[in-house]
């Protein structure tokens, strides 16, 4: 039943995309946070996807190249310097009167969000199709 692997493959992709969406959500939520007491502002995060082979090709146990799922290998931090705004009245201002905000680029995050949700949708669609085909396969020869 090689079709059953589709649920593993698409399921891993859906889970990876939802992690990406999670990271986008935390980036957007922290878009306006200022530097904490340690002087470091929130750094934008990005997920890195990696292919992971699922299932086994034969009894030998070699991974099957035809069932390639996705996993989030690492979450990287963006190290570009944060936005600095001159606001001496702000409680988090430094000696020169500058406040350091996080380095989140809201436009970039919105694009990332749309891309993640589209990929999520495609994978859900794949699973729906696979499910209906499998159900029809189960009824083979009955009608």
């Amino acid at each position: 039943m090689s079709m059953l692997h589709i649920f593993n493959v698409s399921g891993s992709a859906v889970s990876a995309q939802s992690q990406r969406l999670n990271v986008v959500a935390s980036n957007l939520a922290n878009a306006d946070t200022v530097a904490g007491p340690d002087g470091k502002a929130y750094k934008a995060r990005q997920v890195v996807f990696q292919t992971v082979l699922m299932g086994q090709a034969g009894p030998g146990g070699t991974p099957d190249p035809k069932a390639a799922g996705v996993t989030v290998s690492t979450v990287t931090e963006d190290h570009t310097p944060g936005r600095r705004v001159h606001d001496p009245k702000h409680p988090a201002a430094d000696a020169d009167g500058y406040v350091t905000y996080s380095n989140v680029n809201a436009v970039e995050e919105m694009v990332n969000m749309i891309s993640a949700s589209r990929s999520y949708q495609s994978n859900v669609e794949v699973m729906t199709t696979a499910k209906s085909l499998l159900l029809k396969t189960l009824q083979m020869g009955q009608s």
Partner: protein, 137 residues
């Protein structure tokens, strides 16, 4: 006698297995649409089916000179038959999944899978009909 009855189903069942394999392959491509460096893969269905029914020799098969030699698994299960897609529009992350092409292949493959299923159902119905006696409705 009984294998004569199921012989006609053999071809369609091989086609169905290959269709399922291809469905899984395309699902993998769609899943990896955002993975850096992933190369989309596919196989030539017509060639794989010809291999599966033994019309052409299986890729990478050694000659079986002894009765206990094992033949490699036929068709698309051979790694050598999996082709790599070239990027229609090069991307910075070297990913070669073309989402439009993959979705079209996926829809095409699922329709053909269903068609193969219907062929099998039709043959089964024909055989069952042939087994009925004339006194039965």
């Amino acid at each position: 006698m009984l294998n004569r009855l199921t012989e006609s189903l053999d071809f369609q069942s091989r086609a169905l297995v290959l269709r399922a394999e291809r469905q899984r392959l395309i699902a993998s491509n769609i899943a990896n649409a955002d993975t850096p460096g992933y190369q989309a893969r596919d196989f030539d269905f017509a060639h794989a089916l010809r291999e599966a029914v033994g019309a052409v020799p299986t890729a990478g098969a050694a000659a079986a000179t002894h009765a206990r030699h094992i033949a490699p698994r036929a068709g698309a299960t051979a790694e050598a038959n999996l082709l790599y897609a070239r990027a229609s529009q090069p991307q910075v992350d070297r990913n070669t999944v073309d989402m439009d092409r993959e979705r079209a292949s996926f829809a095409d493959n699922s329709v053909k899978y269903e068609a193969t299923l219907r062929f099998i159902n039709g043959s089964v119905r024909t055989m069952l009909e042939a087994m009925k006696s004339h006194t039965q409705g």
